[in-house]
């Protein structure tokens, strides 16, 4: 159980202080989710390079491990930039084959390596601990961009560690990420169906199934909007979740309205949060009217894409 937040700049300027906004919103929801904090930040897209955040391992000298990893990756991808911050190796590289192929090759390089996010604009940064600690390590408050998702976690049934924290990148689709509040009760059944098709899961966290589902639907030709609608018919249990792609922010809510989701919208932006207190914390001086999202419903906000994205 958790707190989820989202922000979308309707003006499309690419200059919104999304880092600061996410931090203020997440701090307000800490009590709902004291275990971990994470953000999915969508910055401006520059050229065709992909940005990857790679978890380098469970323990040890992350800096050393990260740099070694970067060296190995240079053998099969054109790496423009590599740096280690906290537990992550951040890469900017060029790759013209499939996303899943790149991920597989990187993760095969060493035990405990996981591609936490991949995209032209998406960067996921998450860890065990508070939003404040997240900012302290990763300097989130200086990020600017288009839109963002955030999550504070209170673990229900699975482990408390970086990999099990959210947001989750929908492995296989660049720039697709999700945050979830609730508990999907047919997760095990759905997971077994996907595993029969050799789709890999990285955690035992039920929230992971959302990205897997959306990615699978989209790889079979659906757009995000329809994939969200399909999820309402597929997932059982409680969920309010947000999903985002390079130019879209979306939400979906279960049919029994189990988990809260408040929407605050102006002409300039949309802010979504599990509790209104997060919206007020980030925008104390704005006159925003807020409402609860309706049950059994999904909705998307988009701006025209800046850069054509080829998956």
């Amino acid at each position: 159980m958790c707190g989820i937040v989202g922000f979308f700049d309707k003006t499309g300027s690419g200059n919104a202080p999304i880092g600061k906004i996410m931090l203020r919103m997440l701090e307000a929801l800490c009590r709902r989710g004291p275990d971990s904090a994470g953000v999915a930040l969508y910055g401006p897209a520059t050229n065709d390079a992909l940005v990857l955040n790679v978890k380098v391992g469970e323990h040890g000298d992350f800096r050393e491990k990260g740099l070694q990893l970067a060296e190995k990756i240079r053998h099969f991808a054109r790496v423009h930039q590599a740096s280690v911050l906290g537990e992550y190796l951040r890469l900017r590289l060029e790759w013209d084959q499939g996303v899943r192929q790149l991920q597989k090759q990187i993760e095969a390089l060493s035990e405990g390596v996981e591609v936490v996010s991949l995209g032209k604009q998406l960067e996921i940064i998450k860890q065990v601990g508070s939003p404040d600690a997240l900012n302290h390590t990763y300097g989130i408050d200086s990020f600017v961009g288009h839109h963002a998702l955030g999550h504070t976690r209170m673990s229900t049934e699975s482990k408390v560690d970086l990999s099990h924290s959210q947001p989750f990148w929908a492995h296989g689709i660049a720039d697709l990420a999700s945050v979830h509040n609730g508990h999907i009760t047919n997760y095990h059944k759905l997971r077994r169906q996907y595993e029969q098709r050799d789709i890999r899961f990285y955690t035992e966290n039920d929230s992971e199934i959302i990205g897997v589902f959306l990615a699978d639907q989209m790889e079979h030709g659906m757009d995000l909007k329809d994939a969200l609608k399909a999820s309402l018919r597929t997932f059982d249990g409680s969920y309010s979740y947000l999903a985002a792609s390079a130019n879209t922010l979306a939400y979906a809510k279960d049919r029994f309205a189990y988990k809260p989701l408040v929407i605050g919208e102006t002409d300039e932006f949309v802010a979504l949060a599990t509790e209104e207190v997060a919206i007020r914390a980030a925008f104390p001086n704005e006159t925003i009217s807020t409402r609860e999202a309706p049950a059994n419903y999904s909705h998307t906000w988009s701006v025209p894409q800046e850069v054509a994205v080829n998956y």
Binding site: R255, F256, A257, P260, V262, E275, E276, V277, I279, R280, A281, P284, S289, T290, R291, E292, P294, A295, N296
Partner: protein, 231 residues
């Protein structure tokens, strides 16, 4: 007439509530609470007839377990507005989250905007009026009391009620189990007009009345078509 004011900025919920209590002990009759910023549990369990004006949005359980106060919220409210209240009046100018008026035993709750899912759930008395629309499963298991919805309702309206009454001015996506829909009587119209006009809510909607069909009050295996959905 003694007024007091609290600025919530930089204060915890506890500090604000203690301040409210101190003002009441000091015989304040009206307290204005500025910048509540959607905090939860503001003014809960207040049992004195004081007026509290929240200049902004409130979080969960605002007016929860009160018996006597008059509360005005100049913004929106979160979940459980007025839950289990025993008396008093709450008016929210914006929208309300899930469970508005949940389990209230008496008193009046008014939401001028929209309420979300399960408005009026388990009401045991009192009056809940919504100027806009209500969400999924509103009026669920109402034992007594009245829910007036000026706008529309989502699925599952007035499910499994005992002696609650729902008046709906707009459309409903679907009814709950065991309902009976009828036209309001002259008495009903009088009741509607009196209460709606008291709070300047629209009286001119084509209200319909919904009460329980009473088929779910005692099990009878001949009614299994309806029981199988609820057992």
């Amino acid at each position: 007439m003694k007024k007091a004011s609290i600025d919530c900025r930089g204060k915890t919920t506890r500090e604000i509530n203690v301040q409210i209590r101190d003002f009441i002990a000091d015989h304040a009759t009206e307290i204005e609470i500025l910048s509540p910023a959607a905090r939860h549990n503001l003014g809960v369990a207040t049992i004195e007839p004081v007026k509290m004006v929240f200049d902004g949005s409130v979080g969960y359980f605002c007016g929860g377990m009160i018996d006597g106060p008059e509360i005005l919220v100049r913004g929106s409210a979160g979940w459980g507005l007025g839950e289990t209240m025993m008396g008093g009046t709450i008016v929210v100018e914006g929208n309300a989250g899930n469970g508005a008026g949940a389990a209230i035993r008496n008193g009046t709750v008014v939401v001028r905007g929209h309420a979300a899912a399960r408005a009026g759930i388990s009401m045991k008395g009192g009056l809940l009026m919504i100027g806009g629309s209500v969400g999924y499963m509103s009026g669920f298991m109402m034992q007594k009391g009245t829910l007036i919805v000026c706008g529309d309702a989502a699925e599952g309206l007035a499910d499994s009620m005992y002696l609650g009454t729902v008046y709906i001015g707009g459309k409903f996506e679907s009814l709950g189990h065991d309902t009976e829909v009828s036209e309001p009587t002259d008495e009903d119209w009088k009741f509607l007009r009196e209460n709606l006009s008291r709070f300047e809510l629209p009286c001119d909607r084509p209200f319909r009345k919904i009460v329980a069909g009473r088929r779910l009050w005692n099990f009878d295996k001949k009614d299994f078509d309806i029981w199988k959905a609820v057992l």
